[in-house]
């Protein structure tokens, strides 16, 4: 027994004892259990006829997703800092300072998101007397990563509460929700407080340095520039005039939601998710194929007189906005995605198509990814239903 076990064993045993029926902490039983099983694995043994079990539990499963998000978190922190440094005169441009500025933005957001979300999760677990689910550990990290740097913290709190309660808990909690809770939280903020989550002035943390902005400062994101490029102009040139090219959009040194800019960082996350088999390659791959397909269709139909956005080379779409982030971390949420094998391909493909369709053709929503995923979340059960009917028909045809 190592020293950590020696330190923890007695207090944990005592806490467990106090939360047994008839003891003072009885009502807190599920909360105690959550802490206990965090610190040490449960003493449970198999009781059914399947006497041995795989070592994987939901805690490790969820932690893997969090691990996959770490590159996006770290890059997001640095990039948030760098965006501020580049927009303001006279700031120290060192790596450490950038991380420091970024951390000052992101960490309070994470704290609010986790405090509100886990608080609700615990309350529901205590009321309903079920285990505290680990699902929110992922949701709580996804929410700040999809937010602009300048979002007021209370909005994150309200959005998180909305997402967790109305997208998840009212349906029975983790595993029973049909919408992605993190995206629901974002959609709630998007429609309730549109000025704080869209437009040109929210993406960089510059509120404190308003007087020292560099000359010619513009906070516009590549998507906003592409969407507003006048007919007949070359959209790639317009982007590069604003300082955006394929390379920096791929690396992610551009303004945007905190964790959504670096395709390289998501690539690392995607590798972790795919190698471990935690996320479905079917969904991820078909989303990217769907997006590329729609981009190519626009390229084919685009002409000099059409929307300039239609002529944007298709591969630019894949590195702009929230597309890559959504494809890796949002579409692959197994609970809200289609569950059948073929269904996953259809689900992902349609998300990719819809995201680019909304992005290019709907001027009110410069980013279509969030809405495309939520829309397909709603249709996922229908896709699965069709696949199940095919399965049933095969069974009947065999007879």
């Amino acid at each position: 027994m190592n020293f950590i076990a020696k330190i923890l064993e007695k207090p944990l045993d005592k806490l467990n004892e106090l939360s047994q029926p008839g003891q003072p902490l009885e009502k807190m039983h599920r909360a105690v259990e959550a802490f206990d099983t965090f610190a040490r694995t449960p003493a449970l043994v198999t009781e059914s006829k399947v006497h041995i079990r795989d070592s994987l539990d939901s805690k490790r499963l969820m932690s893997t997703v969090i691990l996959a998000l770490i590159p996006a978190v770290l890059f997001g922190m640095w990039n948030t800092g760098m965006q501020t440094i580049n927009s303001v005169v006279g700031l120290d441009a060192s790596f450490l300072n950038a991380m420091f500025i970024g951390a000052k933005v992101l960490i309070p957001q994470l704290v609010v998101s986790y405090a509100v979300g886990l608080g609700i999760e615990f309350i529901f677990a205590l009321i309903r007397n079920h285990e505290v689910n680990e699902g929110f550990l992922v949701t709580g990290m996804l929410i700040p990563l999809t937010m602009p740097a300048e979002i007021p913290l209370w909005m994150i709190g309200v959005g998180t509460a909305f997402g967790v309660i109305f997208a998840k808990e009212v349906f029975g909690g983790t595993g029973f929700n049909f919408l992605n809770p993190a995206l629901t939280a974002r959609a709630f903020i998007f429609f309730s407080y549109p000025t704080k989550i869209s437009g040109d002035n929210v993406w960089r943390a510059i509120e404190a340095h308003k007087e020292q902005l560099v000359d010619g400062y513009s906070g516009a994101t590549p998507l906003a520039i592409a969407a507003t490029a006048p007919r007949g102009t070359n959209v790639v040139e317009q982007l590069s005039e604003a300082g955006f090219n394929f390379k920096n959009m791929l690396i992610g040194t551009i303004p945007g939601s905190i964790g959504e800019t670096s395709v390289i960082a998501f690539g690392i996350g995607a590798l972790i998710l795919l190698i471990t088999g935690v996320a479905s390659y079917k969904v991820m791959l078909s989303t990217i194929v769907g997006g590329a397909f729609m981009g190519i269709v626009f390229n084919l139909f685009g002409s000099e007189t059409s929307l300039a956005f239609m002529n944007l080379p298709w591969y630019y779409h894949l590195v702009m906005g929230g597309f890559a982030f959504g494809a890796v971390f949002m579409t692959t949420d197994p609970v809200s995605a289609a569950a059948t094998s073929l269904g996953k391909y259809i689900y992902g493909f349609l998300i990719g198509v819809l995201a680019i369709l909304i992005r290019v053709l709907n001027p009110a929503y410069p980013e279509g990814m969030m809405l495309a995923i939520l829309f397909m979340n709603i249709f996922a059960p229908l896709i699965d239903w069709v696949i199940l009917q095919l399965n049933i028909r095969r069974r009947l045809a065999r007879a």
Partner: protein, 449 residues
């Protein structure tokens, strides 16, 4: 001969596989017949405590079918009638007197086997107590003579962890397997003998269709064989039994007495002698096996489908394996290898999430720890990795939990038995009891008729 390659599934290489060495234990002390081996059948006692019985004497009689009986495999005295909660009958224990006096039913010659009326043949098998060895799908229940099957499957392979090899088990009554096949052929012309691709010892048997299977577990399960060879459609019935049990039927008819001998494997890291034993059928485990009894789960059957029987347990009616694995429940603290944050050098998993995937052992000494807590189902397409049937297991479970009878049947529940989805239970990170849910679903369908 057809060869079927199974791709889906998982072989779990457990420590302590039985060596192919057979030791004879002729003098059984106690045997027991246990109603738990026969779901869907209510039994009434044919004996009282202290009664004298012979080999072949009826001990239990099915309430719904008086001709269906379970017979003693020793001569001696009824030692105890053990009841559990609400007086449910757990088992009837019989102590051997070592005399081996048997009830004679008269042997049948080959000509008689072919000429005798089917009803008479069935009655004979029932009287000898070997009829219950034949089971049927759907539902894994004892075969019903009133509805003859579309096919009979004789299984001569097993791919479960630590499984006993049919070729070893069969060595005492090999000569009776052909006879058993011929007897079964009277009930159905379509007989399949399923064996592993690597095992040629069963190819000499005649008047059967040879089906060869290769691949990971559940390639050796009868449910897989039926799905690949002759899938169950609405209203279909298929009978099945192991090759050894077919041989026991042949032996019973040839000799006219209830067969008493069988071979079982004792395996697992907690078994002191990991080998095969010739024993009296239904013997007490303690009479022949040498096991490190402390902190051990003793299972009649394999670790994915067997019953935990404890020190005083008996070999189950259909089982030819006693698995002995360590009890779990050890708590691993944060910073330890097997904590959920640890690297997991010692953690066996089907997921590529542990260091053991790279540096792992070839053989595993798994214990009975649940390795986590119960949660809602999160991952999708996880269960389908282990089920070769064309069935959407995740959706089937939802239909069962919702008690949607129509939907569960449409989604193919009748093609499954709990053992077919045992690996899904094993590999579920949410620790959902998939096999138990399937069992509940089948119970609902059975009750509905």
């Amino acid at each position: 001969m057809s060869i079927h390659y199974i791709k889906k599934g998982l072989d779990i290489a457990l420590d302590g596989l039985a060596e192919a060495r057979v030791e004879t234990f002729t003098a059984a002390k106690t045997i027991a017949l246990q109603p738990q081996d026969f779901p869907y059948i209510a039994w009434r006692l044919a004996v009282n405590e202290g009664d004298d019985v012979q080999i072949g004497s009826p001990v239990l009689v099915a309430k719904e079918d008086e001709s269906l009986i379970l017979t003693s495999t020793v001569s001696g005295k009824v030692k105890a009638i053990v009841r559990g909660e609400r007086r449910a009958l757990l088992r009837v224990e019989i102590e051997s007197d070592g005399q081996n006096s048997a009830v004679e039913h008269g042997a049948l010659s080959d000509d008689q086997i072919h000429g005798i009326e089917l009803e008479v043949l069935c009655a004979k098998l029932k009287a000898l107590g070997v009829w219950p060895l034949i089971r049927q799908r759907p539902f894994e229940k004892v075969a019903d003579f009133n509805k003859l099957p579309k096919a009979i499957f004789i299984n001569a392979m097993d791919t479960a962890p630590l499984a006993a090899q049919q070729a070893v088990i069969l060595q005492n009554h090999q000569e009776f397997l052909q006879k058993g096949i011929d007897i079964l052929k009277r009930f159905c012309k379509d007989i399949h003998l399923d064996s592993a691709v690597k095992d040629q010892s069963f190819e000499k048997y005649q008047r059967v269709q040879h089906q060869k299977f290769d691949g990971p577990h559940p390639a050796g399960l009868i449910g897989t064989h039926i799905a690949k060879v002759s899938p169950l459609n609405r209203g279909d019935v298929v009978w099945y039994l192991t090759a050894e049990h077919a041989a026991l039927i042949g032996e019973a008819i040839s000799k006219g007495i209830t067969p008493t001998q069988t071979i079982v494997a004792v395996a697992g890291s907690k078994a002191l002698r990991q080998q095969y034993f010739t024993i009296t059928r239904h013997s007490a485990v303690a009479d022949f096996a040498e096991i490190q009894w402390e902190d051990t789960r003793i299972i009649s059957g394999n670790v994915l489908t067997g019953n935990s029987i404890g020190k005083e347990g008996f070999v189950g009616f259909y089982d030819s394996l006693i698995s002995c694995i360590p009890e779990g429940g050890q708590q691993h603290y944060i910073s330890e290898d097997q904590h959920w944050t640890g690297p997991g050098f010692k953690s066996f998993s089907t997921f590529r999430l542990f260091a053991s995937k790279i540096f792992g052992n070839k053989k595993w000494n798994l214990n009975t720890s649940l390795n986590g807590g119960e949660r809602a189902i999160i991952l999708t397409e996880n269960y389908e990795r282990f089920v070769p049937h064309d069935i959407e297991v995740g959706f089937l479970l939802k239909a069962i939990i919702a008690e949607d009878i129509d939907e569960m049947e449409k989604l193919g529940l009748l093609e499954l038995a709990p053992e077919d989805v045992a690996l899904c239970t094993f590999a579920c990170p949410s620790k959902v009891e998939v096999a138990e849910i399937v069992r509940q679903g089948l119970n609902i369908l059975e009750k509905e008729g």
